[in-house]
Structures are given as C-alpha cells and as structure tokens.
Amino acid sequence: MKKLMTNIFYYGSSLVLVSLLLIVWEVGARIYDKAYILPSPSGILVKLWELRQVLFYVHLPATLQIVVIGLGISMIVGGGLAIFMNRSSFTERTFFPLVIASQTIPIIALAPIFVLWFGYSIWSKVAVTVLITFFPITVSTFDGLRSTSKELQDLLLTMGASKRQLFFKVQVPSALPYFYSGLKVAVTLSVIGAAIGEWLGASKGLGYFSRRMMTQMDGAGVFAPIVLLSMMGICLFLLVKVFENISIKWRNK
C-alpha cells in the first residue's frame, strides 16, 4: 500500500497532465455537442458501463485470445529465428534480409489476403498479429545473442564447456534482457495487430465492435472498446515487466 502511494506520487506529474487533458476534452466535447463525432470522456465511461456485459464477456476475451496466441507464436518463431541466425554468418546473411523485408509489407494491404487464406476464423487475425510482433522479438533477441561477451565464452571453453553448455549458461542469460525489451515492444504492437485483423473481417472482438459502432454513428461506442484495447496493452506490458523483474532479479539488487 505504501509502495502504491509512493508510485502515485512518483508519477504525479503524469497523472496531473492526463487529468488536465481529460478535462479539456470533456469541456471541449460538451461545448461542441456532437457526440457522434466527438464523444466526451464521461460519455465513453457511461457507454463502457452500459455495454459491460457484451464487452467484457464476448469481445474482450475474443481479442485477448488472438493477442495471446499471436504473441506465443511470435516468441517461438522470433526467438527460434534469432537463435538460428546467430548460428553462423551464413544463416544470418540468408534470413535477415527476409526478416526486414517482411516489415516493409503494408500489413493493412496484406490483411485481406489473410482473410482469403484463413477465412473469418481466428487464424487470419493471429497471422496479422504475428507478422507485426515477431520482428521486434527477433531483432532484439538476435542482438542480445550477439552481445554475449567473447571473454565469457572463452572462459567457459577453458573450463571444458560444450556448445550446449555455452548456449544455456552464457548466451541465453546474456540475451534475456534484450529479449524482454523486444517483447515489451511486441506486446503493445500485438493489440494493434489484433484490432487491425478484426477490422478486416471478424464476428467478434474489440476491434470488430468498434468498427460496428462506427457504422451506427455511435461515437462513444467507438471509443469504449478502444479504451479497453489500450488498457489491455498496458496490462500486458506490466505483466511482461513483472516477468522481467523476476527473471532478471540480479539487476535490481
């Protein structure tokens, strides 16, 4: 509890700024008085409350499922690709350009193709999420593996370590902080990926719901699921941070 108070105090300036922005928005929206274009923050909150059943029990779980599956696949694919590229300069030369090229594809343009391939199932949205999130994980894990100290590796070799031991005892722990940096970026992007996927073809999910409200000219209804999406991103980010602090606890001592 005391820690919470310290934290609130620590981020006090940020809280003040956010409150100020909200007040300006609220006042502005009331003066403008066209809720279908600019809903007020209080209007959005009311809408969130009204729609709580369908938002929290139908759409939020749908999007969360996409995000979690997408991130899971990205961690495996991204981590695996980083390890594979780190094996030799040949594999790096072969795969790195492809990894970068994958990021120059405008995903919005590609997403409809995913719908063609995977239909309206969850997998078309997962594919969009993976395409966006594997990149930061791959690149940062790869950098982490490469940053492993040569001296430390030599030291373990003089102890008679095998390649496998070198990997698990030096390379993995060295790359871990980098992996977490990549994951933190990926987590925030994952929410965007899932929302884009849902926009282009879905029957449930926060992104889908927001778009449906748009067609009904319900401004507050557009914003309410977006607020939830944003909250989801923040919560996932904090969750990663918790895991990071647990697995890299030596840094905090």
Binding site: E151, L152, L157, T158, P173
Partner: protein, 265 residues
C-alpha cells in the same frame, strides 16, 4: 619449504618449438617463432612483459583456445592437443557471471563437469569457508568490492580442479593497497593448494614478489629460448621482503634487462 625443491621436479607444461602467428586480412603477424619453455610442477612462474608482448597469446595457446602452427605443447611430458578443461584460467577482469550469485559462480565449473548438484554445493561452500567468503554466497558480483571479486574468481579457478592455473594479470585493475594484500593472499593460497601457477603481469615488483622464476617477453616475434631469471628470495614471503636489498637489486636488474631488450629491437 620442502615442495620447492625444483632440482627434482618434473615438467608440468612445456612448449617445444612452438610457432604461432595471427592472421589479419591475409597478413600474418608472427608472435612466437620456435619458442621453448618449461614450467615445473608446483612452481610459481611469472611471465613478465609490456602490453602487446604476446602474453595473452601465450595464455590462449597454453589453455588450448589456440593451437600452435608448428611444434608441440606438452602436459607432463605428453603432447596434449585437447587442453581445454585441463588448465584453470583466471582472467584479467574477474569475468564473474553477473546474473549468478557468488555461490552459483563457484558452481559453474562443477556444473560443466557434470557434478551432482548437492555434492557441488557442499564443495563450493567448503571452499568459500577457506577463502573467507562465507556470508557472501547470495550476493551478486556487482555487490562486491574489486578485491572480493578477484577472490571469487580465484575460487572458481581452484574449483575447476586443475593442477595448473593460468592467472592473467588478475590484480592489474585493483588499487595498489588492495593489490599488495591480494599478492600476499595469493601466496598463502598457493602454499595451501599445491598448484602450479603461471602468472602474467607487466609489473616487475609483482613478478619478483610472487614467483620462483620470471620469464621475460618483449615485443613479438619472440624467438627461441625465453630469457629467464630465478628469484632467490626465501619463502614464505611477506611485506618486509619488498624492501630487502636483494629484492631491490633484482628489481633494478630486471628493469635494466627489459629495457635493453626493448632497445635491441
């Protein structure tokens, strides 16, 4: 000291006509050209030389990280190409794994050798007691002072269980007070553990204070026999020996020799 009777001791590590050069973009720079040297069992030998004198190349060859281009490296009179894991190494920077506690760092060589976890733990704790490191087992390296970290690094080298230890300028980053203390501490440990120690340094005084014999390296390429000087100062040694007339004279001689070698290049 009974064990320092070198006239009867056996060769522990020997370089026999060893040549080695580094390759930089198709250009070979020779470091060693047909060198010979012998380190005896239980001996404390220092390799003295300025930076860039091929000291670390010597270490990489001895430890097995590099192989000679020609010639042989022998362990106990037998040619040995697979030296990795057979010679303990204590590096210049302590190179403790920052994500492991002191205890876990000590466990590292035992884990690599595949020792049973419980047994390994007991062994490390037993050694930590002897090293005066009890109470720090759950600390992370960055919580320790420089001198303490070097102790842990030495502990780790001892726990590797090898009879030859290569110490690569282990005290060069410490302040001079701590360095003096660590030198005396190292001599005590050497008497205790019965190891052959090869110590690299660029500090003449450190070389004399610690060793039975000093091998001198200057700029590469280094050819043939390595110049050496015996240190006829009695053991156990302590702080007072540093101001002995014999000690001072030896220091002057060594400095003179190193300088004339530099000039003759």
């Amino acid at each position: 000291m009974k064990k320092k009777d070198k006239s009867h001791s056996h060769s522990h590590l020997a370089f026999d006509h060893v040549s080695f050069s580094y390759k930089h973009s198709d250009k070979f720079t020779s470091v060693f050209d047909n060198i010979n040297l012998t380190i005896h069992e239980k001996e404390f030998v220092t390799i003295l030389g300025p930076s860039g004198a091929g000291k670390s190349t010597f270490f990489r060859l001895a430890s097995g990280l590099e192989q000679p281009e020609s010639g042989h490296i022998r362990l106990r009179d037998k040619e040995e190409r697979h030296r990795l894991g057979k010679i303990g190494y204590m590096p210049q920077q302590d190179l403790l794994l920052p994500w492991r506690t002191v205890l876990e760092n000590g466990l590292l060589p035992l884990e690599i050798k595949g020792m049973n976890k419980k047994e390994a733990r007991e062994k490390v704790l037993h050694h930590m007691k002897k090293f005066g490191l009890l109470g720090t087992e759950d600390h992370y390296p960055h919580q320790l002072s420089g001198g303490m970290r070097q102790r842990v690094s030495f502990l780790r080298a001892i726990l590797g269980g090898n009879e030859i230890l290569l110490l690569d300028e282990p005290f060069s980053a410490l302040d001079s007070m701590t360095r003096y203390m660590m030198q005396e501490w190292l001599l005590e440990q050497w008497h205790e553990w019965d190891k052959t120690i090869i110590f690299i340094t660029h500090d003449v005084e450190e070389a004399i204070f610690l060793s039975d014999r000093v091998l001198m390296l200057t700029h590469p390429p280094i050819k043939g026999e390595i110049d050496e000087v015996n240190v006829p100062i009695s053991r156990p040694r302590n702080e007072e020996h540093r101001s002995d007339a014999a000690f001072m004279k030896l220091k002057q001689d060594l400095l003179k020799k190193m300088r004339s070698k530099e000039r003759s290049l």
